[in-house]
Symmetry: C2
Subunit: 481 residues, 2 copies
């Protein structure tokens, strides 16, 4: 090992990361080989001219990554493993450090939430329908219909099943999108894949996306992984503050606006009709294309708004939607609707990355439309979600009145709770976990949302809502900071 090495103490890259990089580069160069023993921690601290705790930090992470091995008797040795090195080469944590350390600070919480997602916890913030919403009867009808209809199961064409896209045209016309045909529709494997395709297909590296602040995409890595920057625009009770868009575009040089205008994630807010007009007008003036994330559309409790796309004369809007939030998450079926040349390009890209969405899921969706099963299912889901919203608001009123404020969503899943005083969300998250409750802290949707929690009435049962909110209220009140 090349021991004459000086760390750069002025660098944004933390010292323990610099030490890790130095060790790895020595393994790569072959200076350190399988079984080689590293100097003791004390010696390393001296060599690198850092505290011993910095060395411990550096070594611990390399051990957890299978690059080093700690044998109490022999000290720390090299566990030379080609895959470990390879898999850690572009480790995202490291990359984020390399990018000055301020990149995606909430990543760890999101990962923790994903990890706990399959555990037996009460998911009071989960963005998913619980099994209580599963329609066994509808699934049976679909499967029976598929038995008759499926006579092959081959690769679909690039934009997805033509029959399905025809059926979707009818649906889009019903929600107000008149200027539609199957060539303007791409079937994708869920709305998240839609964003992945858009991020790698039509956005350049280092371009910027305007979004609501907070926004679902802040908790996603899909744009960040494509090196697309996010620039947030504030919201009020009627959605994104449209008058801020012009300035934001000028400052950020953004090339797209991403919005969830209906039952916004995480706030539950909808853009009202007056502001929808304003939004379209401003974006038309600025020639700023819009991604309209319309995934929660069908979960309205009052008279529904039309999508932005319905008023979009200049094909400025790319609308994404999906079956995941409204009926069957596991179908992994969504769509992108918009200008044909963009749809063509994204379709070409989709063929390159997975050669199309499951034909089985597409067939299931065809049966769902053809057998007129969707309306009945959605009527039931809307009714039940509305009941659960009312119940959650009632319980909030009982236990959160003195410690927080919140909104009353007219559809979708989410209630955005703002605590009256500053407490550590991280600590609250941990304390809730100890009580078997998984919460979604507000700061994963924007780092400034340190007093917020996203609640959802889509997943937890009535009993679980009562228990969780009662417990959280207590935890919040006894938490010091």
């Amino acid at each position: 090992m090349d021991i004459i090495y000086k760390l750069d103490k002025t660098s944004d890259i933390p010292l323990y990361i610099q030490i890790q990089n130095h060790i790895i580069s020595n393994i790569k160069k072959g200076n350190l080989k399988n079984g080689d023993k590293l100097p003791s921690q004390r010696e390393l601290a001296k060599l690198y001219d850092v505290n011993r705790s910095t060395v411990v930090n550096a070594l611990d992470e390399l051990i957890s990554k299978d690059i080093l091995e700690s044998k109490t008797k022999r000290g720390t040795t090299i566990k030379d493993d080609t895959w470990s090195i390879l898999s850690n080469q572009n480790n995202l944590n490291w990359m984020s450090f390399a990018k000055s350390g301020s990149f995606y600070p909430n990543l760890n919480t999101v990962r923790t939430i994903n990890e706990y997602d399959n555990k037996n916890l009460i998911k009071i913030g989960a963005g998913e329908l619980s099994d209580d919403f599963f329609k066994k009867d509808i699934m049976e009808t679909i499967l029976n219909d598929m038995k008759v209809n499926i006579n092959s199961l081959k690769y679909e064409n690039a934009k997805g099943s033509y029959e399905l896209r025809l059926l979707l045209c009818d649906y889009f016309k019903k929600i107000g999108i008149k200027n539609i045909n199957p060539d303007k529709i791409l079937i994708v494997s869920g709305a998240l894949q839609a964003l992945h395709l858009i991020s790698i297909g039509i956005l350049n590296r280092n371009s910027t996306l305007l979004t609501e602040m907070p926004s679902y995409v802040n908790s996603l890595r899909v744009f960040q992984s494509a090196d697309v920057n996010l620039y947030g625009i504030k919201m009020d009770e009627n959605g994104i503050i449209t008058k801020d868009i012009k300035k934001a575009k000028r400052i950020s040089k953004a090339s797209l606006l991403y919005t969830i205008p209906y039952f916004h994630n995480p706030t539950g807010v909808s853009i009202n009709e007056k502001r929808r007009d304003e939004l379209l007008k401003i974006c038309n003036d600025l020639k700023l294309p819009i991604i309209e994330d319309d995934t929660y559309r069908e979960l309205y409790f009052d008279k529904p708004y039309k999508p932005l796309k319905a008023y979009d004369k200049n094909d400025l809007v790319l609308l994404t939607g999906s079956m995941s939030k409204i009926l069957f998450p596991g179908l992994r079926l969504g769509w992108i609707v918009g200008k044909e040349i963009i749809i063509d390009k994204l379709a070409d890209l989709k063929m390159q990355i997975d050669y199309g969405t499951s034909s089985l899921s597409q067939e299931a969706c065809i049966s769902l439309f053809k057998k007129n099963l969707l309306k009945k299912a959605l009527d039931e889901n809307r009714k039940e979600l509305k009941n659960k919203r009312d119940y959650m608001l009632k319980i909030l009123n009982m236990y959160f009145k003195d410690i927080a404020s919140w909104n009353r969503p007219n559809g979708g899943y989410y209630i955005w709770v703002k605590l009256n005083r500053n407490i550590s969300l991280k600590k609250l998250f941990d304390n809730a976990l100890k009580n078997h409750i998984l919460i979604h802290p507000g700061d994963i949707y924007h780092h400034s949302m340190k007093n917020h929690i996203r609640l959802s009435y889509s997943h937890a049962s009535y009993e679980e809502i009562l228990y969780s909110l009662k417990t959280l209220s207590k935890l919040i009140q006894i938490q010091n900071h």
Copy 2:
């Protein structure tokens, strides 16, 4: 428009592309606006100091891309369209030109093949089972079983259904992979997605992948789009020439080897057992991880080989496989098997890009395994594919004996035909199309394969095989060059 502009005539970027870039940059800067008229072609030729045909080329493409509009009376005008500009900003054709013009010359052919793929043509080179191989009875049994078993349809956990991964463990043990558990398996949406995940998840931009020359991946954009370079290693009748690997790695600084050791695409060649040992030994010595593309495995006509992964003591091999080639293409279901830390990382990435493979497809696959339907289906497919191989070889013998040579594959789909003399594959492709035959020219698998054609006995019927080969033989013989 800024008319004082000098094209760089020494650049690798073709002049007509430079003109296009200049026009677009003027639109972006706002110097050219919607409806503005361009100077006449003659004037432009003078301004840019090029032939008029170069101007025509430049304008034609911008018109086809919806950026310009040609109105006979008014000349060429700007059709200012935000999406057009955006979608063409990172247009891949342009990018490839910008990268010195030698990048992926076969792209157009691949795109043409994809476009014609859904037309009513004889696909004599298609890598897909025809509808004749569809097992209606098996699909019915599966759908019946699903009716009983599906009690929810939610997001699966990151690596895919645990039940399915357990069933796959049994399967992997049967083919010789002993050291396996569900945590080492990731369910993906087909083997192509496996490559997409690997390319963006564990390979750095500008890293290099060793591959067989020719190789399926040369016709794919999945690695190229992730800025991964390909470096080819020659093959003989027993597969990749192992003794060339060491030097290739040194020269190319490659970080992975991608191989299709069994029923190679496009050549149909398999690596024999002796050479499998050599390959593993060399890669172990070089610490060169292997991606083993095992998609055609189950389509053997003789006693099967074990996968490389079965002999892989050091977890050097990442094996990919899928249901697509052996039974149901439209299921879009495949897997990656390998070292757990890599599988973890790829699973995390998969959640980021599409939140998991269709639960419906996964359930179908569970039924397929649990009801023991796979063996019967594969026995039938192997038998029929073998018959069709024999038939194709017979017809080749009748019509190609004097004009080409070819191999005799022991499984899979492909026969790799080498023509005895140089003719233009492009011309042959076009002439074949006129006769309703879609061929796969060899040069899409490596630019040097200018005398080759990939034939497949998986898709065309017996009659179509006869007609195509008879016709192609005639076309080849009458073609001048």
